[in-house]
């Protein structure tokens, strides 16, 4: 079960229980081997609606009446949960808050209305907490995909996946490059996690996942990554075991000195919407048992799990050391592990509008300032020359530059084609960013017009746990 540890606000400890129960169905099958899921399969029970009497000025949002333009529509279910935020029983209030959180971003506007209207402190506090959790989960929780499409092209399937994966204004969109050839497919994805849905699309269409690096969205193509091997999906993460290596060293001055070690390599995927600040280089194994019953979990030596790599990367390699198995051992019958990433949960967005006319324009957000010195458009390429503050840049600013986006007036992103420069001058770092105007929107090739520069500046981060489990990995 993946879990968030708040760094800046301990109040906001969030587990996967809530988000996975968002749909009416059980959690998706996570392990291909049929291993029992580490995730709860059902939502926590929801307490019956109880309206406490004698509670003055408790706000109610109209349920069925047409809402005014500024008044969000509220379902009966949501209203019930809102009402229960004032319940005398703490468990009921907590369950109501959980239920609202499960409803996701759709509950935010009604909850804001409630906060403005209610004088009940309990209700206001519960609503505020629910909003914070929803916003946080929108950034770090798993995206749930439901798609039922028949006789459609691969491009249409990917376009729908793209549409549903958009969260809080940040795209998880994909692309389908030259994949359909007129062939039609049917697909039925019912409340599945992002990676489960992505794999299902691959299976149905024969497409493969295509990763662009950085926090660029994933794509689908005929030539991407084929990942039929052992994998596990935990919330917004997918862990794939790729290679089992055996290394043996012989010290030639003393040939009797032979050291042997084994390790297993993984590729770890995070939903593109996650802004990852640090990702671990090592996986901590909780269990690794071979078919002779021997534990292969290596001793937890100091510093073994302390290696981190900075930077927002949608996928990364990690490995785990194993003890040498018995000679007769042929497979690892059960492998359980854990890794922790640091993800951004709050950002301030720095925007420079009317970008093509920007010249020496400076904007500040979240303690960072960007000056756009010039913007050049040549054919399909947009080049932005800018500078940032050199202070607090451990990696020379490249990580931040990877997060800079150009968007058109309708919010479509231009693909980042690379970052150059990085030299310093007068306390600022100078960069040159190139973007490609050609893109695919709703399955059509388009040339986008850069409208504004957008940079989410992280202001709060959290440690997220990802747990996984695999079975029957071959040792020979």
């Amino acid at each position: 079960m993946y879990r968030l540890h708040s760094i800046t606000t301990p109040l906001l400890i969030l587990t996967a229980c809530a988000c996975l129960a968002a749909g009416p169905t059980t959690a998706p099958t996570l392990a291909p081997t049929g291993a029992p899921s580490l995730l709860p399969s059902v939502a926590p029970p929801v307490a019956p609606s109880v309206s406490p009497t004698g509670t003055p000025a408790t706000a109610r949002i109209p349920v069925t009446a047409p809402a005014p333009a500024t008044m969000p529509t509220v379902s009966k279910e949501m209203q019930g949960a809102i009402d229960r935020l004032t319940d005398d029983d703490a468990n009921t209030r907590e369950a109501a808050q959980d239920q609202l959180v499960q409803m996701g971003p759709i509950a935010i506007d009604p909850l804001k209305q409630l906060i403005a209207a209610t004088t009940d402190i309990e209700q206001r506090t519960g609503a505020q907490a629910a909003i914070m959790r929803i916003e946080e989960m929108a950034m770090t929780g798993p995206t749930i995909i439901t798609m039922k499409m028949e006789n459609v092209t691969a491009e249409q399937i990917v376009a729908e996946f793209t549409r549903q994966a958009k969260v809080m204004g940040k795209s998880s969109d994909g692309e389908a490059d030259d994949v359909s050839g007129g062939k039609k497919y049917s697909i039925n994805i019912d409340h599945q996690l992002y990676w489960t849905a992505a794999r299902q699309i691959c299976k149905a269409t024969g497409l493969k996942i295509n990763l662009h690096g950085g926090n660029s969205p994933i794509g689908f193509s005929r030539g991407g990554m084929d990942l039929p091997g052992p994998y596990f999906i935990d919330g917004p993460f997918m862990i794939v075991a790729t290679t089992l290596s055996t290394n043996t060293d012989i010290e030639l001055a003393h040939p009797g000195n032979i050291n042997r070690n084994q390790n297993i390599q993984f590729v770890c995927f995070a939903e593109p919407k996650l802004q990852i600040g640090q990702r671990p280089n090592s996986v901590k194994l909780v269990e690794a048992t071979d078919d002779t019953g021997k534990s292969l979990v290596a001793a937890d030596t100091e510093g073994m799990y302390s290696g981190f790599t900075d930077g927002n990367q949608g996928y990364w390699d990690a490995n785990a050391m194993l003890n040498t198995p018995e000679p007769a051992a042929k497979k690892i019958v059960r492998l359980r592990g854990q890794l922790q990433v640091v993800a951004t949960t709050k950002t301030e967005t720095l925007e420079i509008p009317d970008l093509l006319k920007a010249k020496n324009v400076t904007r500040t957000a979240g303690g960072q300032s960007i000056t756009v010195n010039s913007v050049n458009v040549r054919g399909d390429e947009v080049t932005v020359n800018l500078s940032i503050l050199a202070s607090n840049m451990n990696d020379g600013g490249y990580q931040m530059m990877q997060s800079v986006r150009l968007v058109d007036a309708e919010g479509h992103y231009l693909q980042n084609n690379g970052v150059g420069g990085g030299g310093g001058m007068n306390g600022r770092l100078q960069f040159r960013l190139n973007f490609n105007r050609r893109s695919s929107v709703d399955g059509k090739d388009v040339v986008l017009q850069a409208d504004k520069l957008v940079l989410p500046v992280p202001t709060e981060t959290k440690v997220m746990d990802c747990n996984f489990e695999m079975k029957d990995l071959p040792l020979k």
């Binding site: 091997g229 794939v240 790729t242 290679t243 060293d249 030639l252 001055a253």
Partner: protein, 462 residues
């Protein structure tokens, strides 16, 4: 005299330049060399051609028969560098333009060879004290053998009969008899440091290749199972042989790398070595200065992609050691080393400001190099540090104790080194040098890439 005879006389040198013909290279190491040759056989004593033979060759160079002229030119090019004075005399004496030109070409080949020839040592000792042996050995070298102390040498006795043998061959012969181990000094690559503890690189696995000692230290095997396919499958197998390369400091070699041409197991199966085995082809290895001011002798990696049915031993691995050596140097001296006085020095086109400060028996040399387009980690900067020496009135080098890491101020790279008058250099009288009187550089302004064949045998595969 035929060509093959002249080559056999020189087989022991085992040295060639990159431009040398394939014929010459293939002749330098006998193909039937014993697998685990004793140390003394790593390199046989070099021979010089009798003076009468040289006169015959010089005469043949003027023959009307072009084939005879060509054979003579080849044979002269393969001569021992000891013959250079006679050859230079012949160049001066001739008025024949064609002969003059042909002799110059042949002499250049001999000079190239001389650049990377091993130091030759003659030692005949019976029950000698280690300290005496080291003093006698060091007296025959044109670089220093140094140690922090001599206490660890002990009271053992050493015996050796060596006539004109390469330095590393002699060291390997002595190795079983005493505790001496050799390491390159990262802080002073112009010397070899002797220590009493640590790994002995002069073991049976190492091999002498001219001025180099090639020392395989570790073999790492790696086998991978690809878990990704629906049915996991064996993916790849690789071997990495870690090799330390010790070079005689007199070479002032940089960019040391190994190019392995062949690696076979005991069944004759190729273990498929990578063509360029330098590990990181971009790495620049200086003699003892591995792309910076720290590090040990060049540690290279030979990568192999063996077949699934590879045997238990690397029966033979052969190739060449590549290095870059200076062919022309610029000698620069700074005298008048009064405390704190700043000297301006032009070193290969780079303007340096140098300050020497003396405290007790120690000297700190501070160098400012204008930033401009210079890089403090490039080869020229490294060579600047490597080739810098403080000299006393008797011409003795002071002992280098440290190299300061690069820093910078607003306009300059700042770096330098510390020298001490106190130390132990075998073969030198006294443990304290005189006061420093000048700072000197012999900076390479022309270099040449050279190759020396090597062969390793019988390396066990775990």
């Amino acid at each position: 005299m035929n060509c093959s005879r002249s080559l056999s006389l020189l087989a022991s040198l085992a040295i060639t330049t990159i431009a040398t013909s394939t014929r010459a290279q293939s002749s330098l190491i006998p193909p039937d060399a014993p697998a685990a040759a004793p140390a003394a056989k790593d390199s046989a004593p070099p021979s010089t051609r009798p003076a009468a033979d040289i006169e015959v060759l010089l005469k043949d160079m003027s023959s009307d028969d072009w084939k005879l002229r060509q054979q003579a030119a080849d044979a002269i090019g393969d001569l021992d560098p000891a013959m250079l004075p006679r050859l230079r005399k012949a160049i001066e004496a001739t008025t024949d333009v064609d002969l003059h030109s042909a002799l110059l070409t042949a002499v250049k080949r001999v000079e190239d060879k001389a650049m990377i020839m091993p130091s030759l040592v003659t030692l005949h000792l019976k029950d000698a004290a280690p300290l005496d042996a080291l003093n006698q050995l060091a007296a025959q070298l044109n670089f220093d053998l140094v140690a922090d102390s001599t206490d660890w040498l002990g009271e053992g006795k050493v015996n050796i009969d060596a006539d004109h043998l390469p330095f590393w061959t002699v060291m390997k012969m002595l190795s079983p008899q005493w505790p001496v181990k050799v390491v390159s000094m990262p802080t002073d690559p112009s010397r070899l440091s002797l220590v009493g503890t640590g790994n002995n690189l002069m073991n049976d696995r190492s091999t002498v290749a001219g001025s180099f000692l090639i020392c395989p230290t570790t073999l790492t095997t790696n086998a991978n199972i690809d878990l990704l396919p629906a049915v996991p499958e064996f993916k790849s197998r690789s071997y990495v042989l870690h090799v330390a390369v010790l070079a005689e400091p007199k070479l002032r070699a940089s960019r040391i790398s190994l190019a392995v041409k062949e690696a076979i197991d005991e069944n004759g199966k190729s273990l498929k070595p990578a063509e360029n085995a330098a590990g990181n082809p971009n790495a620049v290895f200086f003699n003892g200065m591995q792309g910076g001011t720290s590090g040990q002798q060049p540690a290279l990696q030979v990568r192999m992609s063996p077949p699934p049915d590879a045997g238990k031993t690397i029966a033979k691995m052969s190739g060449v050691v590549r290095c870059r050596v200076p062919t022309r140097t610029q000698h620069v001296e700074v005298g008048d080393l009064a405390d704190g006085k700043e000297h301006t020095v032009d070193l290969g086109g780079r303007q340096l400001k140098v300050t020497v400060t003396a405290t007790d028996k120690q000297y700190d040399v501070k160098i400012l190099m204008a930033m401009g387009n210079t890089n403090p980690n490039d080869e020229q900067s490294m060579a600047m540090l490597r080739d810098m020496n403080l000299i006393d009135a008797d011409g003795n080098s002071l002992y280098r104790r440290g190299i300061s890491p690069f820093g910078n101020n607003a306009r300059n790279w700042v770096f330098g080194a510390t020298f001490s008058r106190e130390g132990t250099a075998f073969g030198r009288k006294g443990k304290v040098t005189g006061e420093a009187v000048k700072l000197v550089w012999d900076v390479a302004v022309e270099t040449k890439d050279m190759e020396t064949p090597f062969e390793l045998v019988n390396i066990p595969i775990p």
